[in-house]
Amino acid sequence: MDKIKINLDRTKLSSEYIQSKQNFTQITSQALIKSSLFKSAWFYGGAGIASIAGILFIALNSQKKNTYETKITLAKNELTTKITQISQINSPPKDAGAKGISSKPTNKVDSRTELSDNLLAKSSSVLDNEKELLQVGTSHAIAQPIEIAIETKHSTIPKKNRLPNISGFYSGELPLEKLCSKGIEVNEEVQILSFKIQYATVKGDKFLTIQGAHIPSKICKDISELGIDQMIFLTEILGKNETGKIMNFTPMNFTCLIEE
């Protein structure tokens, strides 16, 4: 207590005066307002329900956000991988730098550029819902190839190609002569041991296991005899690296074009 005041002989209030100041109605109404607001089960019930709803809303929202972010991340990763592949395809074997892509002769790009476009188109489709990202990704990839190469240079993906290909084709349309000319390749260090091939013949579908990297001439003949473009599936591609480690590579599928 800071200070005390002392009053001497203050006038006494009469009992009548004090009683005249009684106001029970006011006390009751104020007490009721207070109790009805803060003491009632409705108040706590309502507050509880609101809290639960709030928590649920936040939880669901964050989950939704997470899913959305995961989607974007996956799409980004896929796009980066594809772009890396493109840059690897387009870069000369001994000079994989940005300069290589920018100085690459345009006439040699032909089908590879097509492939790049296909891959990019595929990547774009993954990003259907993420329009902004799609725009950024594709515009960088198509309009500014040099920038892509720079990004790839700093990417964490290993430079060495680990995707199997035939004559530089990874998927899509492939002329029969190219399918049969070179075998499956990965990189200089990998030797393809075997693979399975599925294709259609005049007698029906065939599913064969082939030893080695080359597509046998019998199969090429069968495909040619059918006379129409068809889908070729190359699966369970096995190879070994320099250290002798057996590796399983990504399957491929091509639309084999029969040239007339």
């Binding site: 005041k5 203050r10 004090i18 100041k21 207070k34």
Partner: protein, 188 residues
Amino acid sequence: MNVNPLYHQTSSAIHEELEWINEAKNDTQRFAPLYKKYHEQIFRYVYQRMDDEEMAFDVTSQVFMKAMNNLHKYEYRGVPFSSWLYRIAKSELYQSFRDKKALRTVNIDTVQVYHVIDEIDGDENEENKQRLISTIAKLKDDDIQLIEMRFFEKRSYKEIGEILDISENNAKVKSFRALEKLKKLFNN
């Protein structure tokens, strides 16, 4: 020493009061008899310790509002209902002092001052009257409360004990010590 008839009730009066309390627990309108019975008593307790009359009425209203809202917590433990109200009043009073809404005041009559002077073996004169007033202001609030209740409000030790939530004997001892402190300060 006068005895507060409203505080020291007969057992039948206490039982009647308990019925009102139980009814009021279920229906706030039934609190009216308790309000009418104790309003003046509580107001006087509050006003004795305050300077502002309107503020004293406000605090009294707060006391009864709190009592109504917390009536479900009230349990009869052999002490009158008013001692529960006094405790609420004390809490509300000191809250208003802390909030600086009101100033702690001690209201004394000249007759009471001379009575205290007599208790501390002093001479009943104007000089001692002024000295005692200034000495009271020097006491700690706990001691002022005891002197106030015992000599200015004429409360019994039993009532003081029940208001302060201490035993009657403890109230007696504490009141004696407070008076001794006053005497010591007065004579220095």
